[in-house]
């Protein structure tokens, strides 16, 4: 589809349908029915079968005309893409539209106190009853679970099979008595993740994704989408800047809630974007040692950006290798964040000690220095990314496994 065609088609739709006085949900429902909310999705499911490049044209037009698009923030995308890939037609019909309209917020319920890197070691129980699944256990580090209506959940439905084969993947309603969400404070003072306690929580039989026992394969899809997100950096789906009208007011309110857990996310990436200006303003740029470090950082950020562009061009042209590209990009993001924090420290000198609103860049630099440790842990640690790269990209021999037998016999924390 040519740019002009998209532009004419979309233009006509917007002229006819968009009004700033619509409610946010009503507007997005129109977008969804016309396939403009997620044009890269299949035409059968609320999309238009567009390529990434075509979808980009659409979002550019949205931005130019200050049109509000589909809801973006948070783990919604992880849920949506996973349901698209593995869900039943009914699940797609039931869940995808409300993800796009923003009526439902989602969270990821994967990690547990006893299984983080070893996600397949999950020990939350899923017991099949006549008309539902009964879920018992504890999840942890669940970002924005405190705002979520639904969760994507990995739980163990069989304890006698080897661990990867006993997992199932569920869509769980967070607004039920058996689900308790408790916030966890982080070292940077924010509380964007939570502990989630599941006590006789229920999941309808229909909300199993994939077959029973196929949870690991489904989770792998979610994880690779998540890693790609790290490599790309966060796109907040840049909303139309404050304009007058109901739809904008409701969007502002939605973003305030949706973005709350993520205000510090740019900081965990190290804020390399602030380096050059700060180095100039403080005069640190005159120092030879600082100059060298800035140049090294620049090499990393530029190479990561160029490489990500090449990877996505390669994928568009039908090339393979989504997973390792994600891992390399994610590892790169960690290296960049650490380096940027180091350079910010050099630039600040002793004043790097200070934090709060009266310190450098309104406290943003201090927040950066105490937030970067997250990026090499969240979404799979650096060590795990290295294992993936070594084993799946380089094809190096796997470590001898010690967790191959029936799950109930595997040594784990407290057993």
């Amino acid at each position: 589809m040519s740019h002009d065609w998209i532009s004419a088609e979309l233009g006509a739709f917007l002229d006819a349908e968009f009004s700033p006085d619509l409610s946010l949900v009503e507007w997005r429902r129109r977008l969804v029915s016309a396939g403009w909310a997620a044009p890269a999705w299949p035409a059968a499911y609320f999309g238009r079968d567009f390529s990434q490049a075509e979808a980009l044209v659409v979002s550019q037009i949205f931005a130019e005309r200050r049109i509000v698009g589909a809801a973006q923030v948070g783990p919604r995308r992880l849920a949506a893409e996973t349901i698209l890939a593995h869900g039943t037609p009914e699940q797609k019909q039931r869940y995808l539209p409300k993800i796009l309209t923003g009526e439902h917020a989602w969270c990821q319920l994967f990690s547990e106190p006893g299984s983080g890197s070893d996600l397949a070691g999950a020990s939350t129980r899923a017991d099949r009853k006549t008309d539902h699944w009964l879920i018992n256990g504890q999840k942890v580090w669940n970002t924005s679970a405190h705002h979520a209506d639904f969760g994507i959940l990995v739980a163990r439905s069989n304890w006698d099979l080897p661990k990867h084969q006993g997992l199932s993947y569920f869509l769980i309603d967070m607004r039920q008595p058996g689900v308790e969400v408790r916030p966890l404070k982080q070292m940077n003072g924010h509380a964007s993740f939570n502990e989630v306690f599941l006590t006789d929580a229920r999941v309808p039989l229909d909300d199993l994704v994939g077959d029973e026992g196929q949870g690991w394969a489904v989770a792998t899809t979610t994880l690779s989408i998540e890693r790609q997100g790290f490599a790309r950096g966060r796109s907040q789906g840049a909303p139309a800047a404050a304009s007058a009208g109901r739809v904008y007011e409701e969007l502002a309110r939605e973003l305030e809630i949706d973005n709350e857990p993520y205000t510090w996310y740019p900081q965990r990436e190290g804020r390399p974007d602030l380096i050059l200006q700060r180095a100039q303003e403080t005069g640190a740029i005159e120092n030879d040692a600082v100059r060298q470090e800035i140049a090294k950082l620049f090499c990393l950020t530029e190479a990561a950006r160029i490489s990500a562009g090449q990877v996505s061009a390669h994928q568009k042209s039908g090339g393979q290798g989504m997973l390792p590209a994600g891992s390399i990009g994610k590892l790169g993001a960690s290296v960049i964040a650490r380096k940027a924090a180091h350079v910010h420290t050099m630039i600040s000198g002793a004043s790097a000690m200070l934090s709060g609103p009266h310190s450098a860049v309104d406290g943003i630099i201090a927040e950066t220095l105490i937030s970067v440790p997250a990026i090499s842990i969240a979404g799979g640690t650096d060590e795990i990314q290295r294992n993936i790269i070594a084993e799946r990209v380089l094809g190096m021999p796997k470590e001898q496994r010690m967790d191959t037998g029936p799950f109930r016999d595997i040594p784990r924390n407290g057993h």
């Binding site: 890197s117 070292m187 420290t345 004043s351 440790p373 060590e383 784990r412």
Partner: protein, 369 residues
């Protein structure tokens, strides 16, 4: 020159170790971090009166115990290990050394005994904490000793009784004393990344200071070396604690059916960290021995500060990383050391400044091979 601790020094270390184990638990550290002054007066008077710690490195004729940088280092290593919260570094180390090195005889006789016995808590106001050559740019003294200007970061500025101040004069730098509650003094608490060490911004507006000494560049350099090495001891103490606890953690945490410490990636990282720690310790202890042995300027103090800072930061990063998600939480204690490491890294000069200074000294003494 000394190469290892003497028996007496080892014994002293054990006493100090026990004291801070008892009196600076992480529970206590967390409580004090939430307070404004950031220290427990009872523990302060115990460590002053029972152990006499603040006077350790100060001369006997001024009420001190006449030991030196090595014994002081022992104390700071233990303080770093337990993240002791209190005005020891600001009063005994910074103000104490400043008086020893810069003050007139009369001022030493008058002021050092109270610092040595802990009855007065002083802090040193330096308007630059990056490098000695920059000191004196912001605070100025006029002919009659009126002080004007400000220092962005003063350790324990909110709780000190007395300010010792280095200020610019017509020619060179002078040392001044000023009561914390004197007229024209404005003290503003600042938030620090490290909640376990309180800092303030101090502004002076024509405050009437008492001139108590002259600060030569040479003496200022010597001072900088002494306090940097003291701080390096704090850093290696903190780093050693982190390594111990991190290694312990990797033995008990299971993933993939085995302790995470059995993964070679983590073993190698810990082994590298131990090497880095052993080198930083060697450099720091050696710097202490050098300072104790002679007034001669050497590369070792800056080398110690740079290596200890890099080691402590690397260690702190690894301590979080090897714990995974739990390491990033507030509830877990690791971030307390991480934040101390970040602040110690830049206090008295970030590593790149100390490395630059090493090269200057090497060139001057023509030791470049």
């Amino acid at each position: 020159m000394q190469a290892v601790l003497s028996d007496d020094q080892v014994q002293f270390k054990q006493v100090v170790h026990r004291f801070f184990d008892t009196h600076s638990s992480t529970t206590a550290v967390r409580q004090l971090a939430e307070t404004e002054t950031g220290f427990d007066p009872l523990v302060w008077s115990q460590l002053s009166e029972t152990l006499g710690l603040p006077g350790t490195h100060l001369s006997e004729q001024y009420g001190g115990h006449g030991f030196g940088p090595v014994e002081l280092g022992i104390i700071l290593e233990e303080m770093g290990r337990t993240l002791y919260c209190g005005p020891f570094f600001s009063s005994a180390v910074m103000a104490g050394y400043a008086l020893e090195l810069f003050a007139d005889e009369a001022a030493k006789i008058q002021r050092l005994p109270q610092i040595a016995d802990g009855s007065i808590r002083a802090t040193l106001i330096l308007d630059d904490l990056n490098q000695p050559s920059q000191v004196g740019r912001l605070i100025e003294a006029n002919q009659v000793g009126a002080l004007t200007g400000s220092a962005p970061i003063v350790l324990d500025g909110c709780s000190a009784d007395v300010f010792i101040i280095v200020a610019r004069e017509d020619s060179g730098l002078g040392l001044y004393a000023l009561a914390a509650n004197a007229q024209g003094v404005e003290v503003l608490a600042q938030e620090s990344i490290d909640m376990t060490r309180k800092v303030a911004r101090v502004s002076l507006h024509q405050s009437a200071g008492t001139r108590i000494g002259t600060v030569t560049q040479k003496a200022l350099n010597r001072f900088w070396d002494l306090v940097s090495v003291a701080l390096a001891h704090e850093m290696i103490g903190g780093a050693a604690r982190l390594l111990d606890e991190t290694v312990e953690y990797t033995k008990g945490r299971y993933q993939f059916g085995r302790p995470i410490g059995s993964f070679q990636a983590l073993k190698h990282r810990c082994a590298d960290l131990l090497m880095s720690l052993e080198f930083a310790k060697a450099a720091t202890h050696h710097a202490g021995f050098c300072l104790a042995a002679s007034d001669q300027e050497t590369v070792y103090p800056s080398m110690a500060k740079a290596m200890a800072a890099d080691c402590f930061m690397d260690m702190a990063r690894a301590a979080i990383q090897l714990r995974g998600g739990i390491g990033f939480t507030w509830e877990n204690d690791t971030h307390l050391w991480f934040k101390r490491a970040k602040c110690d890294e830049v206090l008295l000069g970030a590593p790149h400044r100390h490395r630059a200074r090493m090269i200057d000294i090497l060139q001057e003494t023509q030791h470049v091979a």
